[in-house]
Amino acid sequence: MTDHDHDHDPRALRAEALEAILIERGLVDPAVIDSTLDYFENDLGPMLGAQVVAKAWADPAFKRRLLDDGLGAIAELGLGGPQVDHLVVVENTPDVHNVVVCTLCSCYPWGLLGLPPAWYKSLAYRSRVVREPRNVLAEMGCELPDDIEVRVWDSSAEVRYFVLPERPNGTDGLPEDVLAEHVHRDQMIGVAR
């Protein structure tokens, strides 16, 4: 679908009408809309979470603090932000794989990962990953060996979950900023190893 088609999407017309009415009534400020979008699209994103992972890989003491008190540890890096009012970091090991979902809506640690991709919000992901996580992950390209224990975290309250992936082999001695480039968003949700 092109942008031109989108212009004629009835939902687009309804969104525009609502926007116009809200601005006229003074219920939204166009400057706030712009700054909100700028913040979410430019300031937030998986690079923040990757920074946390890289530091945890590089600094065992930070990793301990992160697993013990997620919010306190990321605050050391100046992180936190929207939808991260309380943070629990769960660690992948050779024996355990963690994966995060929100079945009731689509809660997600915006302050660490930005806004979520469509698949995370999809009805298929929300409904299925609590019931058949191995199948869902396999469909997403992540085949888990049978002997890995799978733990699914349904973020049904205001606690946000964040997966600390295993450090890849061959990354010894790399500085944090280079380590961070090895971290993908999917690993921090738990749909990749």
């Binding site: 525009e16 706030v32 409904s127 733990r151 205001e158």
Partner: protein, 209 residues
Amino acid sequence: MDGIHDIGGMDGFGRMARDESVFHAPWERTAFALASSARMVGNTDDFRHAIERLDPAFYLGADYYGRWLGALEVRLRERDLIDSDEVDRRAGSAAARPRAIASAGLPTASPEGGPVRTIDRRPLYAVGQSVIARDLHPVGHTRLPRYVRGHHGTITRVHPAFVFPDTNAHGWGEDPQYVYAVQFAASHLWGAGDHSVSVDLFEPYLEAA
């Protein structure tokens, strides 16, 4: 409410599609920005509840931000801040007006700060303890998913106290409650599966096993 949003464990939604878009179209971006910044009395819990109260066919047929747009309009309409007739006229289109069942109560104030609270009592449950998720069917908003109701689980973490969505969504007060990570065995929940599912449950959702 036992609403359409409560889909954990439901069959029928098909295979995973690797759709990486945050927004599929500019109007979804607009919907996000408007819902995030429109000024009105209310809170996150009542916004979530407005999404849940949308007509179930609309809920499933709309994408994520289509639901946000619908819930935004419902919330503004319910507070007499806009008139859906006017949106209809301006949109000049066949775009369906979002319908929703009424809420059991709307908040009349907006919160300050986040949802974490300090309360002057101790948590009722401790790590390692067996609990049962109560089989509750409240008429209003709740964060107790259907799929754990009536099931045995184990407390694995005691979180701080948080504003209680079941009251806060309706203007019935913050009534903060401890939240627990409760781990359930998939084999108990679904009769199959070797994984565990951990769900964050507010203290009133639980009873000792």
